[in-house]
């Protein structure tokens, strides 16, 4: 038998196996370390610049040192708030339709449209918002930017709402109906609350996704070196500021871009982690 013979072919096969499997481990290490590299650089270069001035001051005139990004921070907050107001109801109620009322044909079309929107590059969405809300009025506005971001929130919210509503067990619904609740009442008072964790997670993830979007804002909300009162004027936003400052020739702007990047990434990651925790806590709660 082959047991006592040293088999060169077997040796080669086993060495190859060991080498290739180690390589896959290297690949995994590289992939995971990218995140930490990014965070590391942001903290290193931007950490000390995230100071009081950064949060409270307006940008200094071009070429001057100092200043902050107060207007961009507020601008991003306004954009995200309005985007949620636009995108979440559409996604939520659309998802309710798909899960509770929808027929097969209508459901397919709506889902397909949502997938289409999801796969559309954000710059194309920006073009759409521009044509709809900037061109006719001949000026940039917070509203048009929020509209573009809102559209981008719809697909995630829609699909997740549908998914989590469908996951609510049948006996819960039937329990409500048996007690005399109408279908819409049952949805509102029993089904939606049962699915709220998943839906909340989806909304948070959608928010995190659009918080970092720059391209659609470039020609809708545009930018602003000052405050932007109301909703009808162009506004500064964190992502656009990062872009503008990073490609500029001024070192002080570079410093501020790092700080803004750290803030933005921190925000996005925190929302992501919170969203996942919400989901996990929900799953654990159900299991216990």
């Amino acid at each position: 038998m082959m047991t006592s013979r040293r088999n060169p072919r077997l040796l080669w096969r086993k060495s190859l196996s060991a080498v290739m499997l180690s390589l896959t481990g290297v690949c995994a290490v590289v992939a995971v370390s990218v995140l930490f590299l990014i965070l590391g650089y942001l903290v290193l270069h931007g950490g000390r610049s995230v100071n009081w001035d950064f949060f409270t001051k307006l940008p200094a005139p071009v070429g001057e040192l100092g200043g902050g990004m107060a207007n961009a921070i507020l601008g991003s907050a306004k954009l995200l708030a309005l985007a949620s107001l636009i995108g979440v109801p559409i996604g939520l109620l659309g998802g309710v339709y798909l899960a509770e009322f929808g027929g097969r044909g209508a459901g397919f079309i709506v889902r397909y449209a949502a997938d289409l929107l999801n796969g559309t590059p954000s710059i194309v969405i920006g073009i759409f918002a521009y044509a709809l809300l900037v061109l006719p009025f001949k000026h940039f506005s917070t509203f048009s930017g929020a509209f573009a971001l809102g559209i981008m929130m719809v697909p995630i919210t829609l699909r997740s709402t549908e998914e989590f509503l469908r996951a609510v067990p049948l006996n819960l619904r039937e329990g409500a109906l048996a007690l005399g609740a109408s279908k819409s009442r049952a949805i509102l008072t029993v089904v939606l609350p049962a699915a709220y964790r998943g839906i909340l997670t989806a909304v948070l993830l959608a928010l995190a996704r659009v918080a970092g979007e720059t391209a659609p804002l470039l020609f809708t909300a545009f930018s602003n070196r000052f405050w932007s009162p109301g909703w009808n004027q162009p506004t500064a936003s964190l992502p656009v500021m990062i872009y503008t400052y990073a490609v500029s020739p001024y070192d002080d702007w570079h410093r501020q871009a790092w700080a803004a990047g750290l803030l933005l990434l921190g925000l996005v990651l925190v929302i992501n982690v919170v969203a996942r925790l919400v989901l996990l806590r929900g799953a654990a709660g159900r299991r216990s």
Partner: protein, 321 residues
Amino acid sequence: MRGAGSSLSPRSLFSRLCQGDEIARLITLLFAASVVLIALAIVYQLWVDSALSRHRFGLHFLVTSVWDPVFEQFGALPFIYGTLLTSAVALLLAVPLGIGAAIFLAELAPQRISAVCTFFIELLAAVPSVIYGLLGVFVLVPLMRQDVQPFLKNTLGFLPLFSGPAYGVGFLTAGIVLALMILPFIISVSREVLLSVPRDQREAALALGSTRWESTWRVVVPFARTGIFGSIFLALARALGETMAVTMVIGNTPQIAASLFAPGYTIAAVIANEFTEATSDLYLHALIELGLVLFLLTFILNGMARLLILLTERKGAEVRA
């Protein structure tokens, strides 16, 4: 509830009862329909608002390489070239790395480590494009200019791919940044597909005397190949549409060059840069036509990706049945 002998006809009673439900149904239908409306509106708008450019240049638009706003000559070729080239570089780098990592996480790593790593990789997918761009500009570009590109020139400079001056920005740098951006997608989808391969496939291979690698590479991965291709298509669709990170490191020069070190341009990048500077209607329409081309490209790729992933799920089900 009124009794059967009420003065109201049964039909209006019925409609009264369903009033709440009917309203709810109509309202939610309206919102669902608005999603379809928006999608249709986007396609419509892209088509209509590129009319001037489409009528002027026709299909030549796709093969002309001149982009001259002053003389109003617009051709999409440099941007299509740049988009495809950077995406190709990105895939070449990200696919082996991504599949390798997915194999490790699905087949080799203990459950806990795999879950933790996957968590971090999914967080990586959430990093905004502009942040990648930021790191690209301040970290990668100098690195490329000072170390990587000279090294490549010294070793492989005889190839046209690695010739020419090394600015740091260019197709290669953009490709590398894109690779990092699409990596998480390839890993998470491939990992899930690999995990769904039935255990007895691997066991059958091991029982025949395969090494761990042989059973993984020759049996498990081929079993999952449709889904893995799906993940690649998805990643490609994302890469095509990436704007910010690319425009910050590609050099923004509309040219077709053989060297990876040369600066270039992509469809998304030129739209981002020149949209607000479009001085004439034709200029604007040309840019929007570029947007239409990009939309069509991603539309087709996403469709193929979804088809492939659907086929994988179906194959898994039919083998299990």
